[in-house]
Amino acid sequence: MTTLLVLLSLTVGVYLVAVLEAWTTNGHFRIAAPLCSALALLGRESIVPRKADRIFFEAAPILLLTSALLGAAVIPLAPALIVTDLATGALFLNAALAYVLVALLMAGWGPDGAYAMVGGWRFLGQVIAYAMLIVMPIMAVAMRAESLLTTEIVASQAGLWNILYQPLGFVLFFAAAMALAFVPPFDLPTAQGELAGGVEGEYTGVRLAVFRLGRMVLILTLAAATVTFYLGGWQGPLLPPWAWSAIKTLAVAATMLLAGRMMPRIREAHLLAWGWKLGIPLALLNIFLVGVLVLVLP
């Protein structure tokens, strides 16, 4: 029952994210746009390129969707509104989202097309740049909560949200989450102006629809994760918990999508260099600061 309720709210959330995404890319705010696009994609042909790695090509969109959805399964929308409150929830979220990389590598290698392949391997570089910046800030969050349970992480922020408790961690995590969701300016694997769609470029019809759905779920999952880890999850005055979760998650998702409009795509060399030479030292500093705070504050 809870599962169905969560899935239903995820569906609504994903649809709204898709509306936001269509708005940021096309400039039109139309509620019906994603439905229209999805139906249109259903009606179009769905090609498999010749000499493709058929298994990879078929598996990639499904794997992307599945991993994003499994990631969402450990995120609480309200105190009891969670699919599985795993004891290692925060770790499981990482584990599920690690397969986004695998899905994109498959989508890149599968079609035997140059743009896609460059996109796929680019994303591996992107993962190497951001992965530590997902893991290390989560670590600091877990230090404060003394648990990997996502519900306890939310509960630990009752007094003070983590965005204020560890702002450095939030900034790093938010940027890394955007990179994981490959939204602009981190859209290196799909870059329209550089790779004409990249890993997404060879997908058509219903396969493209599934790929895009997976991407939307991924964005929603990461926005919800940001809310859970840093913005106090369902907590908030007056409104019921689920409403707070919804508002915060959509606001974070909109921020993620809009931020990319403001800046050009980042260069891969810079992404790697900044991630390692700036990001990791800062993330370690964040762990140290939180460590001191946790011991000093009651």
Partner: protein
């Protein structure tokens, strides 16, 4: 419940073996690397079926990135990474068959003949597993933990020294 658990362990075990076989049956390097990844994922799922949650999830997480990195190195340094040549990836079949069967029999023998002691009543719950692991790391096994740090450092230095051309000119290139 126990039987269902056993069923899942067997299922994922079998999946791990099948993917393991696929590693060598395919001629595409990327397929091979990702087959190994899914073999490891299946082992992670096996751990989960055995209620070793932390270990299972960790296995599932770490293998994804590490095997993908292995995939890129295989694509960089192996001939014909696309498997267009249908290259046979098995070598020295006779020797491998013999050593493989010996190892298999040894493993079975160990599994059957070793006294594993009385089975635990039921494993601690997942949250406690993680905590106890943490306490273990900071207590009894601290030295092992720090040694692991040194080992990883050694690996980093070795990898860098082997793979990276040192900066020649002053400034970067």
């Amino acid at each position: 419940m126990i039987s269902a658990q056993g069923l899942f362990i067997a299922f994922f075990g079998l999946a791990a073996v099948c993917f393991g076989v696929a590693v060598f049956r395919t001629s595409s390097m990327v397929r091979s690397a990702l087959a190994l990844l899914f073999s490891q994922t299946a082992i992670g799922a096996m751990f989960l079926s055995m209620q070793a949650e932390f270990l299972g999830v960790l296995q599932i997480m770490m293998m994804a990135t590490e095997m993908s990195i292995m995939a890129i190195f295989m694509v960089m340094f192996m001939m014909d990474p696309g498997g267009l040549g249908k290259m046979e990836m098995t070598h020295q079949k006779g020797l491998s068959l013999i050593s493989g069967s010996i190892a298999f029999m040894a493993a079975v023998a160990v599994a059957v003949f070793v006294d594993w002691g009385p089975g635990g009543a039921s494993p601690p719950d997942a949250a406690r597993q993680t905590r106890e692991l943490g306490i273990e790391l900071l207590g009894r096994s601290m030295l092992i933990f720090e040694t692991a740090g040194i080992t990883i450092l050694t690996a980093m230095i070795a990898a860098t020294a082997v793979a990276i051309q040192p900066l020649k000119r002053s400034g970067d290139r």
